[in-house]
Amino acid sequence: MYRIASYLHLSANMNSGIDLQGTFIESLKDLGLSPGLAKLVWMPLPMLLMLIGATVGVLVAVWLERKISAAAQQRIGPEYAGPLGVLQPVVDGIKLVFKEDIIPAKSDAWLFTLGPVLVVIPVFLSYLIVPFGQHLAITDVNVGIFLWIALSSIAPIGLLMSGYASNNKYSLLGGLRAAAQSISYEIPLALAVLAIVMMSNSLSTIDIVEQQSGYGILGWNIWRQPVGFVIFWIAALAECERLPFDLPEAEEELVAGYQTEYAGMKFALFYLGSYVNLILSALVFSVLYLGGWESPIPMDRLAGWIGVSENTPWLQVITATIGITMTLFKAYFLVFTAILLRWTVPRVRIDQLLNLGWKFLLPVSLVNLLLTAALKLTFPIAFGG
């Protein structure tokens, strides 16, 4: 239990870096609250921050998706709601909130309602492990990246549930496809992650970034794992059900797959879940392969050259800001590639999808894992001894 409480730290280490939690609790104590109460007031704040952050991230991603799709098709895209249509996702969301919530006849009302919830909650929970800086993570769980893989494996149950409860054959087929797809691509995904974990000797996302730090862009794992990152990105796209792997909701075949019967807020949950998942995958990708919060030019060395001590407060603030910006920038760059990919490649067939997963990605990722192990034994300096 001691550990669960300590999971909710925004800062794990007291003596260096920005300690938001400590400062906040101190100021509450100055107001005359008892230490326990002050901690209780603090505890929901990071979670709230995470929820708001994830939702805002989704709004940005939806806007980007619409604008970039429009640009790729030589259209303008949303234009009237706010400058450049930035408020369009908000408008969409409000519309969905006020829409009638329809539960189809002869459907299973309980499972129908539970399905989207089960899809969304694990995705939001996975945000816990994303670090935005050395001390800017909601938690530093030491099974970090494994927690993400485990949580993302819950979603297929929600999809199956909503597919089954909708009383619609397209929904059922969509749900089954979604489950088959996420199970088959989870294995190459996990193996690609395992190769990274092997190099950094830790499952914690913060350690994984630490291991890539120090050499700027040259130290990022993308150079050490040229095959792994391709496997990871393909598998992550399949897990997010993005084109070319959007078979579960293939419009031309299944109307909208498991979402067919959903309307209003429940549909909005699915929509939100899929975009949160996309951003989360992009964030995890940037943590695993693109050095997380590290900027292409190593910041601490730069500071050393100028002759500023690492513990100067303003330097720490700047580093934290740059870290958050870098992480978000990398993640949204990946979202951009995903959108570009969406308008470039056609959808694969279900047999091609399973062939790609089991006959191509699985063996290749196993070979990649073995190669990484061998390289780690031969060059312990470059591949994390």
Partner: protein
Amino acid sequence: MNIAEGVQIVSFGILGTTMLAAALGVVLLSNIVYSAFLLGGVFVSMAGIYLLLNADFVAAAQILIYVGAINVLILFAIMLVNKQEDFSAVPKRWIRNGATAIVCFGLFALLGTMVLITPWSIAPATAVAVQDTVVEIGKHFFSDYLLPFELASVLLLMAMVGAIILARRDFIPEQLGVQQTALTLPEQPRESSAGSIASDEMPSS
């Protein structure tokens, strides 16, 4: 009692109740789909209890393997086999029932004795929360729990080979494949190279 302990007790109560209720639902509900979904609930609350015991890696593995793979497979099987079947009266039914009862009672007795003989109380001084659970588990796997670990891996290997052989029909002799029952679809014989390793080997994850 401080806040942490209070939270701990409350969460244990919630997790325990949901687990028991879901487990009872799995056994008692007549709709098999509900049972399968509730099984997922049992697994998740079990993972929560692991988390309360500071076993975070085990909790994550529990979710990944039991909820993410096994439960989904069970659901898959249920949803793909959409066959209504009425139970016909089996002669000598009581033998089966009796055998089931004996096995269940034996299992219960086994677990009960295990619960009774295990020394549960750990001296608070020695119970230091293990910081790096993964490393500890790895050490145990390759020292005192080596035999069970290896046995489990051999079992999984056997399952995987079996799944591949089932999926690649060219390994099965023709005579077996020819006879058709009402449940099998007539299929073209496949070429040896095109035999696909279908998604049957999922448990190997």
